[in-house]
């Protein structure tokens, strides 16, 4: 029977790896959507937009989208590389893993978490922002008519664009919110572990005979 700590550790790494991969996709889609709109605007393919002002707004959103997408991609890639190293080590282990080896993997993940703690905080904020930008860009591109009057705001969306594009952008928003939620859950679990480690350092200190210093 597999050590329960190892079994849970393996599951957590596998699940975290999945969330990281999803975030990579979100970053890639957001940066692609942003750059595609910018290229289309340069080539003059965005003239079907309601007004020139809206084209400017869409251009600005596309640039933000591209910037956020690249940031998410870059930050997530950093996490992904470190995580892959640990995941590969776990996968290389045979069925009989020694106690020392299990602890070694846990220590490695703890050290890795200390390294990515701040980055994870950034990605929890950047991810949903990135998804939201893709969604807004999708809405702006899909606008057929748009008017602001004293009685309110009215707009019509282009059905041909809306059905597919909006479904994709909505999926990106939902995925970005979900990945942010799971990153938060992961951070909470590991912050708790780091606190537990700090609390148990007293015991280790006493065992090493450092408490008399």
């Amino acid at each position: 029977m597999m050590n329960p700590a190892l079994s849970q550790f393996k599951n957590e790494i596998r699940h975290f790896s999945l969330v990281t991969s999803a975030n990579l996709v979100i970053g890639a889609v957001a940066s692609a959507a942003g750059i595609l709109y910018i290229i289309a605007a340069i080539l003059g393919l965005t003239t079907n937009l309601v007004s020139p002002e809206l084209r400017v707004i869409a251009g600005a959103i596309a640039m933000v989208c591209f910037g956020l997408g690249v940031s998410v991609l870059h930050v997530t890639l950093g996490i992904s590389r470190g995580l892959r190293g640990i995941k590969d080590k776990i996968d290389r282990e045979g069925p009989a893993v020694t106690d020392d080896r299990i602890t070694c993997l846990i220590v490695q993940m703890t050290a890795f978490y200390r390294d990515i703690r701040k980055t994870l905080g950034t990605i929890i904020l950047l991810g949903p922002l990135c998804g939201f930008c893709v969604f807004v860009l999708g809405i702006v591109i899909g606008l057929e008519t748009f008017s602001i009057t004293s009685s309110g705001v009215s707009f019509t969306l282009d059905n041909r664009v809306t059905i597919l594009a909006q479904a994709i952008t909505l999926a990106i928003v939902v995925s970005s919110l979900l990945s942010s939620h799971y990153f938060t859950k992961f951070a909470m679990a590991w912050n708790h572990r780091i606190d537990t480690i700090e609390a148990s350092e007293c015991t280790l200190k006493t065992t090493l005979g450092l408490d008399d210093q």
Binding site: A5, D99, V107, A111, F112, L208, G209
Partner: protein, 91 residues
């Protein structure tokens, strides 16, 4: 092993690695330490009786003592217990 580690994690790593006699160079390479901090860690562990310097030919190597087993076991149980309680991450 690299990344941000506590001194207790580094002590544990050295002691586990030195279950069989290891040279100073092998220890600092394996534990990703520079020679200055490596010397300090080894000096501390030798002074506390957790490591012993073994002379093999011209080169000295270090080996964990039976006293180190107590620290290794305590450390392992503390770190593995992290997965027994508290919030668990799952999808």
């Amino acid at each position: 092993m690299s990344g941000r580690r506590t001194v207790y994690e580094i002590y544990w790593e050295i002691l586990v690695y030195c279950k069989t006699p290891r040279s100073f160079t092998a220890i600092i390479n394996r534990c990703d330490l520079n020679s200055k901090t490596g010397q300090e860690y080894l000096r501390f562990l030798v002074a506390r009786g957790y490591l012993v310097a073994v002379e093999s030919g011209e080169r000295a190597s270090y080996q964990s003592t039976p006293r180190a087993a107590e620290y290794i076991a305590l450390f392992s149980s503390l770190y593995q217990k992290l997965f027994d309680s508290g919030p668990e991450f799952r999808l």
